[in-house]
């Protein structure tokens, strides 16, 4: 197994109404591999399929597992780990803290370009 992308000290399973059409529409917006790896890290894989199956829209079991992992598994306390930098982002009370520290802000061109455009009303 690859290095964990999320670690957990406290987890909760919440009950959320299953909406198959909604889940079905969300699946193309997700990096399925990343989701599966997170589920592995949290040991909540269950019957979650490691890969997207064809015609998942019609497969209720598949959708129910996707729903369970996406909507019902909640990390209350733990860390998100960036697979590129290894940087740990703490999760407290179920909320990930993505705030960067002084030295981390400003990745170069992207940041300064966006902030230089002045569309404010003068």
């Amino acid at each position: 197994m690859a290095d964990p992308t999320v670690t957990v000290n406290e987890m909760k399973i919440r009950e959320v109404d299953f909406n198959p059409e909604f889940i079905s529409r969300m699946i193309p917006r997700i990096e399925w591999k990343a989701l599966y790896e997170a589920a592995l890290s949290l040991d909540v894989v269950g019957n979650l399929s490691p890969e997207l199956i064809t015609d998942y829209e019609k497969d209720e079991d598949f959708l129910k597992e996707a729903h369970r992992v996406l909507m019902e598994v909640e990390v209350i306390k733990g860390f998100l780990i960036c697979p590129e930098s290894g940087r740990k982002f703490p999760i407290e009370n179920g909320i990930p803290n993505m705030l960067l520290n002084e030295g981390e802000v400003g990745d170069g061109p992207a940041q300064s370009e966006a902030l230089q455009e002045d569309d404010s009303m003068q």
């Binding site: 009370n93 179920g94 992207a110 966006a114």
Partner: protein
């Protein structure tokens, strides 16, 4: 509070942009809009804010209203563009009450708006001072975005900074709806917030 409820009802009833949708709230604060959208049967709502104290209150509100399909993220939307760009073209709808901007923070409402337009597939609903409507209209045209004024509201804001001279002030606020001329394709529209 009632204007917020009416606002959300209008968004849902007139445009169908809440029920069963993935909704984002930029600068969600105590989660009033995020939770409100969830109460109107949104599929899932995600609120983003820089203030962890406000987010603590948002969690309490979630408990009080027994809402489960809402998540919050503590992030600086004006500072860190890398993180939020991961959500590009992910939300069906963005509904927000962005910061209006102070002397030190000019143009932050437009920063939030640009990010919102990148994140949303169908529409962005945003509150802006009526006095800025023409300016925003011009910007929308420039960006190739459709803008309509859905409602005119009046907020009474208490003084919150030392340099505020009045005890409270009434400001006229527009609920604006932004949408796209063409349906966004998988990778999103041409406008980008960074790379």
């Amino acid at each position: 509070m009632t204007s917020i409820t009416r606002m959300l009802h209008t968004i849902n009833a007139s445009f169908g942009d809440i029920e069963g949708k993935l909704v984002g709230d930029l600068g969600c604060g105590c989660g009033i809009l995020t939770i409100g959208a969830a109460m109107l049967e949104a599929g899932c709502c995600v609120g983003f804010d820089i203030d962890e104290d406000a987010l603590s209150i948002a969690l309490e509100n979630m408990d009080e209203f027994e809402i489960e399909n809402v998540d919050f993220v503590n992030v600086d939307l004006s500072g860190d563009i890398d993180y939020i760009s991961k959500w590009k073209n992910n939300f069906d709808t963005v509904i927000m009450n962005p910061p209006f901007g102070t002397k030190k923070n000019k143009g932050i409402d437009m920063t939030f708006l640009k990010i919102a337009l990148d994140l949303a597939r169908t529409s962005v609903y945003s509150l802006h001072k009526t006095s800025t409507r023409d300016h925003i209209q011009r910007k929308s045209k420039e960006w190739g975005i459709k803008m309509e004024t859905v409602a005119e509201l009046r907020f009474n804001l208490p003084a919150s900074y030392k340099f505020h001279k009045q005890k409270s002030v009434d400001i006229e606020v527009d609920l604006l709806r932004f949408s796209f001329h063409e349906k966004k394709n998988q990778s999103g529209a041409a406008s980008s917030i960074g790379r």
